[in-house]
């Protein structure tokens, strides 16, 4: 028989059409790391991606999950929903990953979750938008959040405002799910404490000036403004506020009030701002392991420098433990096992290797993470603790930790 082009073509088409299992004799479990290496999340993105890599290395060194090595495919979300959707499609359709780890901003996670749902794979993210907890977005309950919801952030803001003795708080929110989630959470919690809420302004992105918005708020003479905001708009608003010469305090989420903000505005403008960020589970053995890995991978930077990297470290470990527990590579089985390995009761474990040994010995494990104790509620959300960081002479000084 002569081999014609047609036969070759038919043959290769047949090979391509063969089920995945037949081709994937390499026996790896494929995982995608989709992180904000560039864009607004870039201060955190590289660290997040490298810590997934470091955790996967440790998992593979311990013999892999349920006998399979984890194979990692990394992509940059550019902190942009459009770019993230393209990257997620590539991860799902070309790399055939079985879970995507580490989407950062709410906009990105909200855009990617429909794709992971359709592909019937897990999405582990660090976004705050409340909509990510419930249907329709999380209709299949395949989404897990390793960061606090914006609502929980708002509750932490209210705790801090009460503790600092503020009486007349006003709120300003960037017009998206995350920004409004923060201020709504605050206003609900503040009212629940029996207090009166002040002026509330929702503003639009990409404005050359926020003076009208600011004046509306300042005219009500608040003693503190609680923000649901991001870095660029916060930079513009604070600069305009400082130039009005009105003395006042600010409570701002840590992803907006970060060292870049101080660098942009200088210590005088940022003096006294209270930045609120979820704090890692710093006393825990898991954090020590993460911290060591972070120092190795990130030029000796301590793990405390990037709370989101601790979250992605936990993602890889939780996923691998769940596979180990499920004794399966099927999404449904892994999904069901996540709460088994992460939530109490059970033997507290700090690393994958420890957990693997305990599972092999037939014991129920409870992974206590580097980012938080990592107990998922019915929505796949966790409740970390929050640090109140006061910016003083350009330095971020953590004065206390609040629990909600």
């Amino acid at each position: 028989m002569t081999i014609t082009r047609r036969i070759v073509l038919a043959g290769s088409a047949g090979a391509l059409a063969m089920p995945n299992v037949v081709r994937a004799q390499g026996e790896t479990f494929r995982v995608g790391a989709l992180n904000p290496v560039t864009g607004a999340g870039s201060p955190y993105g590289s660290g997040m991606q490298r810590m997934i890599g470091a955790a996967v290395e440790a998992i593979n060194a311990a013999g892999g999950a349920n006998g399979r090595r984890i194979e990692l495919f990394s992509e940059d979300s550019q902190t942009s929903p459009q770019a993230a959707v393209l990257a997620a499609k590539k991860l799902i359709e070309v790399n055939r990953v079985r879970a995507i780890l580490g989407t950062w901003s709410s906009g990105v996670s909200l855009a990617v979750m429909p794709l992971t749902n359709d592909a019937d794979i897990l999405l582990m993210h660090t976004s705050g938008a409340p909509a990510l907890s419930t249907p329709p977005v999380n209709a299949k309950s395949l989404g897990f959040r390793f960061q606090a919801t914006n609502d929980r952030f708002g509750r932490a803001f209210a705790e801090i405002a009460a503790r600092e003795g503020f009486r007349r708080p006003a709120t300003m929110a960037f017009n998206n799910a995350s920004g409004i989630g923060n201020t709504d959470g605050f206003r609900r919690a503040w009212a629940a404490k029996g207090n009166q809420n002040g002026e509330h302004v929702v503003y639009e992105p990409n404005q050359p000036s926020y003076r009208a918005e600011l004046l509306r708020v300042l005219n009500t003479r608040p003693d503190v403004i609680v923000m649901g905001s991001f870095l660029p708009d916060t930079t513009i608003i604070l600069r305009e506020w400082f130039q009005t010469g009105t003395p006042m305090k600010w409570i701002i989420p840590g992803w907006a009030a970060n060292p870049q903000l101080v660098q942009a505005l200088g210590p005088a403008v940022t003096q006294g701002i209270i930045a609120v960020e979820s704090v890692s589970n710093e006393g825990a053995p898991a954090f020590a392991a993460f911290d060591a890995a972070h120092r190795r991978a990130m030029g000796n930077q301590p793990g405390t420098a990037n709370a989101y990297a601790a979250m992605t470290w936990d993602m890889a470990n939780t996923l691998a433990l769940a596979i180990e527990q499920a004794k399966s590579f099927e999404t449904a089985a892994i999904n069901a096992a996540i709460r088994q390995v992460a939530n109490p009761p059970g033997e507290a474990v700090a690393t994958f290797a420890e957990g693997k040994a305990a599972i092999a010995a037939g014991r129920k494990v409870n992974y206590e993470g580097a980012s938080s104790v990592l107990d998922f509620d019915q929505f796949g959300d966790v409740t970390p603790d929050f640090g109140a960081y006061f910016i003083e002479q350009g330095q971020f000084n953590r004065r206390y930790v609040v629990k909600i």
């Binding site: 639009e204 050359p208 003076r211 009208a212 004046l215 600069r239 010469g245 005088a268």
Partner: protein, 286 residues
């Protein structure tokens, strides 16, 4: 309150107006919507930022913004738009979007995607007749006024400006009258680039500099160019001011979410009653 919103609106309007001037000049003479105008602005902002870091002077920054944006605008013409000159408008529009992507990507690679800011001294406002005006707004308004005076000086007081307006009116008549199109086009693209550069610099000083800033501001520039009457430089600036002021002073009534929509409602209303725009002329059918 009203006075302060008015001041904010004027500065906002000047930025829109300068960007609209860049759009409308190209529209009037090269006859296509230049979608790369926004990213030419961004390039101006980055050039200004670099010059400002090096020299600490806003004047030097302005010069750098004008030079860089003018050069990029001219390169865009020579390398892309000139070879495509006789193609349909749609091809030129798509090419312009491509140039815009190219500029944005290049800026992203060179400067990164993190926001950068002009380290300008922050000062308390000056009180003029009960209105508190930030000194930087006065400076920026002055910069814009100088830039506009320069642009209109070129357009209305020089021979090349007259030739440009002649080409805008009727390219064929201009050609048979002995106007050399190449000189006109080079001046046009330099002038449009310079206007965009100053707009980018102002936006950058007021907000933050990031690769996406110009692209995101492009829509209002187009709106002002249309509202002012396509091809009319005076109209573009007037419409930019109108849109900026309308946005700011409407906020007590419509809130902050709808102020952008409101400025477009103003545009629609004007165009309903005056389809040629504020300063546009009715084009005869030939």
């Amino acid at each position: 309150m009203f006075g302060q919103l008015l001041v904010a609106g004027i500065v906002h309007g000047l930025i829109i107006g300068l960007a609209a001037l860049a759009v409308t000049l190209v529209f009037g003479i090269a006859r296509f919507p230049n979608a790369a105008a926004g990213d030419t602005m961004t390039a101006g902002a980055y050039a200004g930022l670099v010059a400002h870091k090096a020299s600490g002077s806003l004047l030097v920054a302005g010069g750098a913004a004008v030079a860089a944006s003018g050069l990029i605008s001219l390169l865009g013409y020579l390398l892309v738009f000139r070879p495509l000159a006789r193609r349909p408008v749609a091809s030129l529009l798509v090419a312009a979007i491509g140039v815009a992507f190219l500029i944005r990507a290049a800026l992203g690679i060179v400067f990164g995607h993190q926001q950068q800011v002009f380290q300008v001294p922050l000062a308390w406002p000056i009180e003029v007749a009960g209105i508190r005006i930030p000194p930087m707004d006065l400076t920026l308004a002055g910069v814009a006024a100088c830039a506009l005076a320069g642009a209109f000086g070129v357009l209305y007081l020089t021979s090349i400006g007259r030739q440009m307006r002649a080409v805008a009116d009727d390219p064929d008549l201009a050609r048979v009258s002995g106007i050399r199109p190449m000189r006109v086009m080079v001046t046009l693209w330099l002038l449009a680039g310079a206007a965009a550069g100053i707009a980018g610099l102002m936006l950058g000083v007021k907000t933050v500099v990031a690769p996406e800033m110009g692209w995101e501001g492009l829509l209002s520039a187009f709106a002002a160019a249309i509202l002012g009457g396509i091809g009319s430089p005076v109209g573009a600036v007037a419409a930019g001011l109108l849109l900026g002021i309308a946005q700011e002073i409407s906020t007590p009534y419509v809130g902050f979410t709808y102020k952008i929509a409101l400025s477009f409602a103003v545009m629609l209303a004007v165009l309903l009653f005056r389809p040629r725009g504020l300063f546009g002329r009715v084009e005869g059918v030939r």
